[in-house]
């Protein structure tokens, strides 16, 4: 039963039905809750050790489906930590209940609650007449934009997108539905449209302790162009996605994910564009469909987290001071 539940989430990762750091993390935690619910300690075993093993097997399946993001790894660390710290005196049902409420608390405080705090901070940075640029479809930024619109602020949004995922189109659809004035373009035109932009809002998959932002591929490019045009770059990122690691270069980063090469070799909906036909197996040709890139901290003006708005240089402080709290 519990395996089936983890399997379903994994398959949803694989098919791309669940994407986006927060959505993936919440889906995983909810799968863990199911695992805990269905768990019963086998005879001759202790709950603390055996359940950790159960969670590990679930995680390894999820990892097979799609590499884990930093946020997910942090969440897993939290869950395992809670299991290890369960008092041995607790009965099985008590232990399960406490574990479930812990996971619930993590979702509510570290993810959903954090987003609300971020929205509250970020909205103060949007003024009437602003032209905001966003890239891809970051959930936190979307919430910020919608909230600012509800507050009656007058601003325009430029949604910048890139092939092959074209997630920006979904964001665009949702913003248009609420009546926000939008424009849509691809990342190729970034240097042209950056003239009119007053602020850039970006999302992040994780932030490392040297201030490097690890995010959807293309983010670095947007941030660099914005910096060249003296446009402030604000990154919205929940603190649970912070990591104490230091990242210098992303091209050889082991944690980067490679996407389906077919996604970039073919143009969807245009069968007549097939310049790579017969070349896909050529030894001299490689398709690189990277999923993430790293933006050096020089190109980031500010990181908006649930602990407030901080410059990228302050990330290590947050990591140091609050990492312990995360695991509580």
């Amino acid at each position: 039963m519990s395996v089936a539940c983890g399997n379903q989430v994994g398959l949803q990762y694989l098919s791309g039905d669940i994407s986006g750091g927060n959505a993936r993390c919440i889906a995983m935690l909810q799968a863990f809750q199911e695992v805990v619910k269905d768990y019963s300690t086998p005879p001759e075993k202790t709950l603390n050790r055996d359940m950790a093993a159960e969670i590990s097997s679930c995680v390894s399946f999820l990892r097979e489906c799609r590499p884990l993001s930093v946020s997910m790894r942090n969440a897993i660390r939290f869950v395992k930590n809670r299991i290890a710290k369960l008092s041995i005196t607790l009965s099985e049902s008590e232990a399960k209940a406490s574990l479930k409420s812990d996971i619930e608390r993590f979702i509510n405080e570290k993810i959903i609650g954090a987003d609300m705090v971020i929205v509250k901070h970020a909205v103060t940075k949007i003024r009437d007449g602003d032209v905001l640029l966003t890239y891809g479809s970051p959930t936190a930024v979307e919430m910020v934009l919608l909230h600012a619109h509800e507050l009656g602020k007058k601003f325009r949004v430029l949604v910048v997108d890139s092939r092959p995922k074209l997630q920006g189109q979904l964001l665009l659809r949702r913003l248009i539905k609420r009546g926000i004035n939008c424009a849509y373009t691809h990342i190729n035109a970034i240097s042209y449209i950056m003239h009119q932009v007053t602020k850039v809002f970006l999302g992040a998959s994780s932030v490392f302790s040297n201030g490097t932002v690890y995010s959807r591929v293309g983010t670095a490019c947007v941030a660099m162009v914005a910096t060249a045009f003296r446009v402030p770059v604000l990154v919205c990122c929940e603190a649970y996605k912070f990591h104490e690691r230091v990242l210098l270069d992303y091209s050889i980063c082991s944690s980067n994910e490679l996407g389906d090469p077919n996604a970039i070799s073919k143009v969807h909906g245009r069968e007549d564009i097939n310049y790579f036909d017969g070349l896909t197996n050529n030894a001299n040709l490689k398709f690189l469909n990277l999923m993430y890139d790293a933006t050096p901290s020089d190109y980031i003006s500010m990181i908006i987290t649930d602990y407030g708005m901080v410059p990228p240089t302050s990330v290590p402080v947050i990591v140091r001071e609050y990492q312990k709290e995360h695991l509580l």
Binding site: N181, A183, H195, Q196
Partner: protein
């Protein structure tokens, strides 16, 4: 780039047609819409000359036809024909440097409809034979950038194969939710693309009635769609003209001609459709809402290369700036004026301090004072707007003066040379003209337009009077113009046909209605687009059909049993069943009827011989019966049918119980069916119970048997 395409297209066409007898690519452009949607503006100027983003509509149509490789264009002028011809003479269309394009005009002020126009062309044809072959029929308010050469070739090829394919209609997936124009229901054969049904539905009731004859062996499936837009671009063969001549009551191209052809099936002529790819644009301006939409599409460049910053028809190109702002190079704008996105500003326009202009088109030579707000409006040429005016979602025609402080509420249309008085508020959706509203409303909308040319003169003479007694103007003390009254019924619909953005609540209503429709549609039309066989409209005459069906089944059965193969019989009967659209129970009834007829018709001397005949037939063909008698209901149907037969036939009557018993023995009819039949019949009149009484013993026996069984099970 446009030019290259043009040449290439023309060259290709020439190569193709040189093989045949050389056929020029011809087009008939109707420079008249034969409707009153644009009144009062069209009383003074023909619709095709109205500016669309500062360029007359006709230029878009002609430029497109030219680049699509059309070599000869017949421009059919009706109302205000002199204005159209004057315009063409002034512009470069007559004296084009392009030797491949010939523009001719045909003038017939008497025509009042498309039908009249085509009849007139046909009459001329007998003298001059201008139209040599297939031609493109469009109206002069079409904006498109689709290529035509391939389409015409496709039409010709089809015509060569099938003489009856006389017309190809261009359709397009709806660009977005279109409100204002009627929704169109179409039924198309998905394989051949033949048009089978066409219906313009105003109400979004979601009901479509299709003739069941649409589904036959030659079209196994039908695609029903309501999300298509009719572009009113047709490739026609010369037969179309003669058809109009033959059917002199045809007025409207779609309502009469297309529907007439589809419904009355004249000489087996066929109409085909061609769906254009989403990368091409095609739209027709038939009301103010589509005027607004097409204007916006042009500004957003969906109609490329027919956009304001490209010279496609001798127009002076505007300069395109950021955010879709088109500016003429000599327009003057105050530094403090705020020009917003998606705006076009024409030559010689002057914009004063502190103005705010969004989403609007400002024509040539306009003079706009200080602190003017213009939003979503179309200001045509030489309009003077004084300080502090506010204009939202309005159309303001040439030469209008709007005095200081006046406000135009959404949906206002100001016709030519109207003057709006100081601080006057023009109420929403009002239409203002110097001409008085024609009081004699013709009942037929399309006829009404005809009288306008003579009527205009009278009305124009009234203008002078009006200026004399301008004190009495309806537009403030220093204004001139009449506000036209809107008839009450149309008032609710005003918002649909104006340039005002659709109010959110109405939009929500419509989307909800659409969604409801979708659900309804699914119940009527399965997702595959194939028709369900048992919709109500089809079953109305089912009772008549049953008699025929029974007879046919009998014939089939008698024919088939010679071959002595159960499967073969079933196959043949099934084919009848599908042809008549009958349920399995009906088949069972009919088959059993045929079997009993066979038994009765076989020579016999006594009742016993008849019984033997009947049992023989049943034993032999029980496979066939069994195929249709899978459910109790069907078995009951058979018993009832048999009952009916026995009532009619004196010979069979006494054998009823015996044969039913035999059917039971042979497992053709189950115990349940007999018992339920007995229960149903129990309440009937005495005279109806003759056969029930006959079977009483059997039913009694069956009941006891089942009770015993139950008892056995219980113990």
């Amino acid at each position: 780039m446009g030019a290259q395409k043009k040449v290439a297209a023309a060259a290709r066409v020439r190569d193709d047609s040189e093989d045949l007898t050389r056929q020029r690519l011809q087009a008939i452009v109707l420079a008249d819409s034969f409707t009153t949607q644009f009144r009062p503006i069209t009383l003074e100027r023909p619709k095709v000359l109205l500016p669309l983003v500062n360029i007359p509509m006709i230029d878009y149509t002609l430029a497109w036809l030219e680049s699509a490789g059309i070599e000869e264009i017949f421009l059919f002028c009706c109302a205000h024909s002199s204005l159209v011809i004057d315009y063409l003479e002034k512009s470069e269309w007559y004296s084009r440097s392009n030797p491949n394009l010939l523009v001719r005009t045909i003038v017939s002020p008497k025509s009042t409809s498309v039908g009249d126009a085509l009849r007139y062309i046909y009459e001329q044809q007998t003298e001059t034979s201008q139209i040599q072959g297939d031609f493109v029929l469009v109206s002069g308010d079409t904006v498109s950038n689709m290529p035509l050469a391939d389409l015409i070739q496709e039409h010709r090829d089809r015509k060569k194969k099938d003489e009856k394919a006389i017309m190809t209609m261009v359709i397009k997936k709806q660009f977005r939710l279109e409100i204002g124009s009627d929704q169109i229901f179409m039924a198309v054969d998905p394989l051949t693309k033949q048009l089978l049904h066409y219906e313009e539905g105003n109400a979004r009731s979601g009901d479509v009635c299709l003739d069941k004859s649409l589904l036959n062996s030659s079209n196994p499936s039908v695609l029903v769609c309501n999300d298509m837009q009719d572009c009113y671009i047709d490739i026609c063969s010369p037969e179309v003209l003669s058809l109009f001549e033959d059917n002199f009551d045809y007025q409207h191209l779609r309502r009469h001609f297309v529907n007439g052809l589809l419904v009355d099936d004249i000489m087996g002529y066929k109409i085909f459709t061609h769906e254009i790819q989403s990368s091409f644009y095609a739209a027709r301006i038939d009301n103010l809402r589509s005027y607004d939409m097409v204007s916006k599409n042009i500004i957003q460049r969906w109609t490329y290369p027919y956009v304001p910053d490209i010279n496609f028809s001798g127009n002076r190109p505007l300069k395109l700036g950021r955010q879709g702002i088109y500016r003429a190079s000599d327009s003057v704008q105050s530094r403090s004026a705020d020009i917003g996105a998606s705006t076009a500003i024409g030559y010689g326009a002057k914009i004063g301090n502190g103005g705010k202009i969004f989403n609007s088109v400002i024509g040539n030579g306009c003079c706009i004072g200080s602190n003017v707000v213009i939003q979503g409006s179309y200001i045509w040429n030489n309009v003077t707007i004084e300080d502090g005016c506010e204009i939202r979602n309005a159309i303001v025609c040439d030469g209008v003066k709007i005095r200081a402080g006046a406000v135009l509420q959404p949906g206002v249309v100001l016709s030519f040379n109207v003057v709006v008085g100081r601080d006057f508020v023009v109420p929403a959706f009002s239409k203002v003209s110097l001409l008085q509203q024609p009081t004699t409303e013709d009942s037929d909308e399309e006829m009404e337009y005809a009288g306008s040319s003579s009527g205009t003169a009278d009305l124009l003479s009234g203008v002078n009077n009006l200026q004399l007694e301008s004190k009495a103007s309806e537009l403030g003390p220093d204004g001139t113009g009449y506000i036209w009254k809107v008839c009450d019924s149309a008032h609710d619909e005003e918002w649909k046909h104006s340039v005002v953005p659709i109010p959110m609540d109405k939009l929500a209503d419509i989307t909800r209605a659409m969604n409801d429709d979708d659900i309804d549609d699914e119940s009527v039309v399965p997702p595959s687009g194939e028709l369900k066989s048992d919709t109500d409209s089809i079953n109305t005459d089912a009772n008549d059909d049953y008699g025929y069906f029974e007879r046919e089944v009998e014939e089939t059965f008698l024919m088939a049993i010679i071959k002595d193969d159960v499967d073969h019989v079933i196959r043949l009967i099934n084919s009848r069943r599908f042809a008549y659209n009958m349920a399995s129970a009906d088949c069972a009834g009919a088959v059993f009827y045929s079997m009993m007829r066979l038994a009765v018709n076989t020579p016999h001397n006594s009742a016993r011989e008849l019984y033997r005949n009947a049992t023989g037939v049943i034993t032999k063909w029980k496979g066939v019966l069994g195929f249709y008698l899978k459910q109790t209901d069907e078995q009951i149907e058979v018993i009832m049918k048999f009952e009916e037969m026995c009532e009619e036939s004196a010979e069979l009557g006494p054998l009823f119980a015996k044969i039913v018993h035999f059917l039971y023995d042979k497992d053709v009819v189950q115990e349940d069916a007999i018992l339920r039949w007995g229960e149903e019949k129990a309440g009937a009149d005495e005279c109806d119970k003759v056969f029930l009484n006959q079977c009483e013993a059997l039913i009694q026996w069956l009941k006891e048997a089942s009770e015993e069984e139950e008892e056995e099970e219980d113990s």
